[in-house]
């Protein structure tokens, strides 16, 4: 189909350039209710998207559409003509498509060694191996195993393909006593490691038991707040958007290069890079949707924005070199040792409804479903509380762990200690 589309694009007059993106996705999916297999799914689908560029009056217009497998040549030509007409009424600043690069890339994953159906069943076994604690259970488990073949070609000689593997386990660890409590677990990975899967789910099983035992604090807690890697990723993830080329061009960035985002800092300074690949991350990629080879870039150094990042179009508008649309975040470790952290009481957020970070309104907060209050000797499970504070204060006084960890698309400190957050 892709070649048919390209041949018709080449024979269509009045088009300055074109781009074709294709993603073929094959999946095997298992859906369990408790330990019973309720639904088995399999998919074999292809998304094929065409973008047509038309240069006119010193400007550039573009329009895109999907090509479905049912389309014959006549229908494809008709859709191209429609897109050409649409692109002809759009007048954006001109830019160039990336040129003359080709390559085939295969993700480094042991998924390729397994039949997907077999792999899904092995993942299920690894998950249910953790379902062995007294009073605990996994009430629902969904397992997805994907193989994506991603291709981008354009009229300027870009021809790249990458094969990517990813798996996702969504499961609901539950603890049943006089009452029943649960936590939500979504675990994404690109390498099958049976022990790692079982260990991840086992950790959640222990936490849900703690949630069962957790009680609201008797007195208001006044102490620093500790965020683990998942929430820390969310927190710093809010800062990367402002340094994207498109945000700057569209005047929607809250800060820019040269701005100190940790004014009056008393803690560890943030040093953050955007990266194309992190081992194990489902967002790792060799190139972006335009076919630009991804280039890592440090964008915040010692709390100050130092560089922008992003795709080719807006990079060219700003006269900068593109990095491609990078999907992974790397945050430099800080100076907080585990020993230092445990010298004084703290409150650690283990499971939140969702960390709310509003960079524009200078807010950080959210409901904590399971937290641990460290009283100077041990961590006591706590529930029924929220955190709330000024983002700028929290960031300025933040201490970062000196130990690194990887969580999905994040590599960086395993935790952060925040001062100035109210626990209510």
């Amino acid at each position: 189909m892709m070649n048919r589309v390209i041949n018709i694009l080449k024979s269509t007059s009045g088009i300055s350039d074109w781009k074709v993106n294709s993603t073929k996705t094959e999946s095997t999916e298992l859906f369990f209710v408790h330990k019973s297999l309720e639904t088995v799914r399999s998919t074999d689908t292809t998304d094929l998207k065409v973008t047509v560029y038309v240069a006119h009056d010193g400007a550039l217009g573009e329009a895109s559409f999907s090509v479905y497998s049912s389309y014959n040549d006549e229908k494809i030509a008709e859709e191209i003509e429609k897109a050409k007409k649409k692109a002809g009424i759009i007048a954006n600043q001109s830019y160039s498509l990336p040129e003359n690069e080709s390559g085939e890339y295969a993700a480094n994953s042991n998924f390729a060694d397994y039949d997907p159906r077999k792999l899904a069943s092995l993942i299920a076994e690894a998950v249910f191996e953790a379902d062995c604690t007294e009073g605990g259970s996994l009430n629902a488990t969904e397992i997805f195993v994907y193989r994506d073949t991603v291709t981008v070609k354009n009229s300027r000689g870009i021809d790249k393909t990458q094969i990517k593997y990813r798996a996702m386990v969504e499961t609901i660890p539950t603890f049943n006593g006089e009452e029943s409590v649960e936590l939500y677990e979504q675990y994404n990975f690109t390498e099958f490691d049976r022990e790692a899967i079982t260990a991840e789910i086992s950790k959640r099983m222990r936490e849900v038991r703690d949630r069962y035992e957790a009680k609201p604090p008797v007195e208001k807690l006044v102490c620093p707040v500790v965020l683990d890697a998942p929430e820390l990723e969310q927190l710093v993830g809010n800062y990367i958007g402002s340094l994207n080329f498109s945000s700057v061009y569209q005047h929607s960035n809250a800060f820019s290069v040269g701005d100190d985002i940790q004014k009056d800092a008393k803690g560890d300074r943030l040093t953050l890079s955007m990266r194309g690949r992190i081992i194990g991350s489902v967002r790792s990629s060799a190139f972006d949707g335009d076919g630009v080879t991804l280039v890592d870039r440090e964008i915040i150094k010692d709390g100050v924005g130092v560089a922008l990042w992003g795709g080719t179009r807006f990079a060219q508008y700003l006269g900068e070199a593109p990095t491609g649309n990078l999907g992974c975040i790397s945050l430099a470790c800080g100076t907080l040792t585990d020993e230092e952290k445990r010298k004084a009481p703290y409150f650690r957020c283990a499971s939140m409804s969702g960390l709310q970070v509003d960079i524009y309104n200078d807010y950080i907060g959210g409901e904590v479903r399971l937290g641990y209050y460290f009283d100077g000797e041990r961590e006591i499970p706590v529930t029924g509380i929220s955190i709330s504070g000024k983002l700028s204060t929290a960031i300025a006084n933040m201490r970062l762990s000196n130990e690194a960890t990887t969580y999905e698309d994040y590599n960086g400190p395993k935790c952060a200690l925040l001062n100035g957050i109210e626990i209510v």
Partner: protein, 467 residues
């Protein structure tokens, strides 16, 4: 605009596939989806016409072997149907190591019905040029209202939905449309940058476009107010919720909480409270594609079940949940027309549609006047459900302080409301006599499976923790 020609052209092939797969499976259905979606966007520096995120075209085949369910998603149904059926059967085979884990659920009902449904759509009356011009006019109108506006972003996002459902005894098709018009202001004052949003929506482009100009003054006023908003002092307050926040409470509290696939998984506490008081006696709540008219008002769901109006809470008592075909089959109940998929590539779950509290008898001004010190909360930012443990978190874009029974000019933003669902719902002491549905929402289940939903209702007076 009419029902998809493509889906019409595949009717015979779908019937043949149902018949062929019927040799291996006791229950077989095919759902075909052809969703056309466009997004026209304009801001200060750029404009774009592209495909909207809802666009899709393909099929999902659902089967039941007398024990468990099986599904296969594919782009087209054509050509050698017996060969396709064999490929499907092979693709959903289960590994020997887990085959004994297959659940045992009775066959779903497959009652006879042949019907076509269609709703008026005027999208053909508007060319791309006209819609682009309209976006540009709205953008310019916004930017002309303040020199503190850094940018104004306007989007018109129409989509049409054609769906074809075929089983051995059932053949349904539907066609309907919806459009969202969004305007966003990006505003900077005294070094603080804020964004404010306004939206209009309808099944008719003419209505959605006609309404937007009346929102622009409010958009810019909101920018000005939000730029000067202060953080709220955390605490427990008397609160009035606008229809958007009332709808968010309904959605997170007893929308997700009564999705009956969660009953099957023992994930919803509500399962044990049907027939009990879970809210104030002045509280009534509904969900359903046929319960009101908004973005989720389809005619039949992705399981081929006709749209319902389900009353979830009646006079404070939990009376019913909402279900997809599979969960209803497992529970031995009637499905309520709430089986929805993110796309033909994804599984159907029990999902909300249009979810709302019913209007009450109080006047909004009396509700505000009854508060010595509190807040009125406006506009949904996001929310999070916890159906198992009945915790709730709802984030409002902003609140306005109420002092001595009067709304002040003191804005706070953002505002996170959290607490226990029954405590919150039982604290409802007044319900306004007006009603509004916000038809611009989308909702995930956990952190995935996004579908379009609406929610709303009257204003509610509650007592709740704000932070």
């Amino acid at each position: 605009m009419n029902f998809s020609e493509f889906l019409n052209s595949r009717r015979d092939a779908c019937r043949a596939l149902v018949s062929e797969l019927g040799k291996n499976f006791a229950y077989v259905t095919v759902l075909g989806s052809d969703v056309k979606s466009t997004a026209i966007r304009v801001n200060r520096n750029t404009s774009d016409i592209g495909e909207g995120g809802a666009a899709e075209c393909g099929f999902v085949v659902k089967m039941h072997n007398g024990r468990a369910f099986f599904e296969y998603s594919l782009d087209d149904i054509t050509g050698d149907i017996p060969a396709l059926a064999k490929r499907i059967v092979d693709s959903v085979k289960v590994e020997d190591s887990i085959i004994d884990k297959e659940i045992s659920v009775k066959l779903p009902a497959d009652e006879s019905m042949v019907r076509s449904f269609s709703r008026e759509c005027d999208f053909d009356n508007y060319s791309d040029e006209e819609l682009l011009k309209k976006c540009t006019e709205i953008r310019d109108a916004i930017l002309s209202k303040s020199d503190k506006l850094l940018n104004a972003m306007v989007a018109i996002m129409p989509f049409t939905v054609s769906k074809l459902f075929i089983s051995k005894n059932r053949e349904l098709d539907q066609f309907y449309s919806w459009v969202n018009v969004m305007a966003v202001g990006v505003y900077r004052d005294s070094g603080k940058m804020v964004m404010a949003r306004e939206g209009t929506y309808s099944n008719l482009m003419s209505e959605a476009l006609a309404e937007m100009p009346s929102h622009l003054d409010r958009l810019v006023e909101k920018c000005e107010k939000l730029a000067n908003a202060k953080p709220i002092v955390p605490g427990v307050y008397d609160v009035i919720t606008d229809p958007s926040i009332s709808g968010l409470i309904a959605h997170e509290a007893f929308g997700h909480g009564v999705e009956m696939d969660q009953f099957v998984k023992d994930r919803a506490l509500a399962k044990h409270y049907v027939g009990d008081y879970v809210a104030s006696p002045i509280c009534n709540m509904h969900d359903g594609a046929a319960a009101t008219f908004s973005t989720a008002s389809y005619f039949f769901d992705d399981d081929g079940v006709l749209a319902h109006d389900t009353q979830i809470i009646k006079d404070g008592i939990l009376v019913a949940g909402i279900s997809d075909l599979v969960s209803a089959t497992e529970l031995g109940t009637e499905p309520t027309g709430n089986g929805r998929r993110q796309s033909y590539k994804r599984k159907a779950y029990s999902r909300m549609t249009n979810t709302f509290f019913s209007p009450g008898k109080d006047k909004l001004e009396d509700m505000i006047a009854s508060i010595k010190h509190g807040y009125m909360l406006f506009e949904t930012n996001n929310g999070m459900e916890d159906p198992k443990n009945w915790q709730i978190q709802c984030t409002a874009e902003y609140g306005i302080e109420i002092i001595d029974g009067k709304l002040t000019d003191n804005y706070v933003s953002p505002v996170v409301m959290s607490g226990s669902v029954p405590e919150l719902l039982k604290s409802i002491s007044m319900v306004s006599d007006d009603f509004k549905i916000i038809g611009a929402g989308s909702c995930g289940k956990g952190y995935k499976e996004w579908v379009r939903v609406s929610d709303g209702g009257p204003a509610l007076k509650v007592r709740v923790k704000l932070a």
